[in-house]
Amino acid sequence: MTNKVTKAGSISRRRLLTTASAGAALAVSPFRINLLKAEEAAIKIGFPVPLTGPYGAEAQDQVRAGQLAVAQFNDAGGLNGRKAELIVRDDRLNPGEAATRTLELVEKEKVNFVVGSLSAAVQLAINNVTKERGVIFNSISQSDAINEAADFSKHTFHEALNPHMTSGAVGRYAFAKFGKRVAFLTADYAYGHEMVRGFLEVGKEFNVENLGDIRHPLGTTDFSTLLPRLQALKPDILCISNFGRDQQIALKQATDFGIKKSIQIIAPLLSHASRVAAGPQAFEGVVGGCSFYWGIEDKFASTKAFNDAFRKTYDGKLPTDYGALGYGGVRTVLEAVKGAGSVETDKVVAALEALKYDDYKGPQYYRKCDHQSVQSVLVIKSKSKDLRNESDVFEVLSTEEPNEKNLRTCEALGHKS
């Protein structure tokens, strides 16, 4: 345990220190101008993610896998020898901070593309900036709003699942199996609201009874005052729609309160990093959704290839769900750059729209009207027994294949076509 504790800490610290000191050295170097000139040819991808705060564990995975996608692109020769570079910024899970960092990335760093974010709310702030500046933004975090005409622009792409798809898949599985009386514990911001809306929508098909929705602020550390009420509602299903540390703490405390004895807990998204961080007990038996699980490598060659490359780069570690999104988000943009033979925004947009790709989880493509990646949704269950390795944490219960039927229609989103 000690080794694990200090080792994990020191790896990220070392990386942080090298990045920081390299940056500082560059800033004070008299050769700065020359260096910048020499680097001008690099394809720059800005990567704002919440490295500090309750979603830090997931964000670190996004960075690792994003860097892998860049390294692979460069090893394969880049764009006719032109290399790519990932410029990571900490948005601290704060929309204002994210907007500032993104503006800096666009104005100062002159990035060609922006990929990143991990919050339904923060990504909209990033999108506002990139939209205005005409820079391509590929979001790797869940949001329904980003698909809608009001927030969408032709420069906006969405590699992650959206809450409608996720809650739809989990709801269809859970409501048929565990019962109709449902209570909600929800993080009080866009992500939670969109998930609950999705659950209630799919719940109509199953005549689900909504017993109540208790909301908590983002970054809550104590749920003990909310849990007795939820227990007293006597639901069949308790649906906990939060993320990161909130999810870890909520599930741990719900377990402590003995909620699992009589109630099935479901979550729209079960975060791999959170499950690893919280340990098997808190998550045991919880059913939820995800966009990626390394275990589907038996099914898809692309997953196997991604896992192997990730293992090789990161001392045998396996990628997580949000790591895979970091990889996919960066990789599709670079693929489009290669396809377009240029970093020119319009050409890359056209190339992304035309892309049919299978990079890490089976076939995907960006829907024309809202640039939402049409892809599979996995329904998974956290397990605590017979773990083959430290990443062996989930069991895939069912898979919803990629299908535009599971997305809201283009008309419903306010798009013309």
């Binding site: 345990m1 000690t2 694990k4 504790v5 200090t6 994990a8 800490g9 990220s12 610290r13 490295l51 500090t52 830090g56 564990a57 670190q60 009080d188 017993l211 109540g212 208790i214 909301r215 908590h216 602020p217 970054g219 550390t221 104590d222 003990s224 005052t225 909310l226 849990l227 007795p228 009420r229 227990q231 007293a232 509602l233 006597k234 540390r245 870890q248 703490i249 741990k252 405390q253 402590d256 309160f257 003995g258 961080a277 919280a278 340990g279 007990q281 808190a282």
Partner: protein, 294 residues
Amino acid sequence: MAGLSFDLIALQLFAGLALGAIYVLFAIGLSLIFGMLTVVNFAHGAFYMVGAYVGLYLISIGGNFWICLVAVPIAIGLFGLAVERVLIRPLYGRGIDYPLLLTFGLSYVMVECVRIAFGKTGYPFDTPEVLQGAVDIGVGYFPLYRLFVIGATAVVLLALWLFLEKTSFGLIIRAGARDPQIVRVLGVDVSKMWLIVFGIGTAIAGFAGLLAAPLQGAIPEMGGTILAEAFVVTVVGGMGSIGGAVLAGLLVGVVVSMTSLFAPEMAKVSIFALMAIVLIVRPQGFFGRAGLMS
């Protein structure tokens, strides 16, 4: 939402008391230090956080939770002694804002050091095996560990009370808090006394951090939230009053819990609303002595 039953309200009340226990434990250290030294210890949250991390570290090298219960307060207390001796002592007699700013800065240094040593993401902290699970307390199931926290808080309070009220050293401390000048004239080394009080205060903070860790894990920022809430507790209870901190801590816990029952989204605000009301009605808090801040 379903109707309210007696059991639910009773259970909710109990959850509030359990939550209040952590507030109490945190706030008495803060109050003790302020009451005796008139130092507003802004690093109290950082000591609390370091307590959780020291526990995490001890367990990772083969210790267990029970050893931590003893070792963590000692370790954090010793650390507190060093901080008082080296950093805070030179600032006595310079006005209340000097140690306040110092401890404020110190808290940033401590949080950053922990981030460097253990990483930014934090670690889970397993509930000790014998305290896992929920027990039936008559009105419903309640986590065993939270009952343990209430018990541990009571033990610490009792020990502190006995120490302050029943020992001769406690007598000197109380006298020193009332009039350091006279106590000094009587030949008592006041600075040694303050050193020990600061050590005890930080030791309790470390202990509280250790107790909180199995509830929510350990992260570098865990001291920040509770510090804000604990200041409310000390203000409501009366700055520097230990009895006030106990009463106010439990009250804040119950207020949060009861607000959660009827309007969960108001729970966070309710703490500050309570403070506002108390300040309007009784500006010095429940048991506060007027003029301590001046």
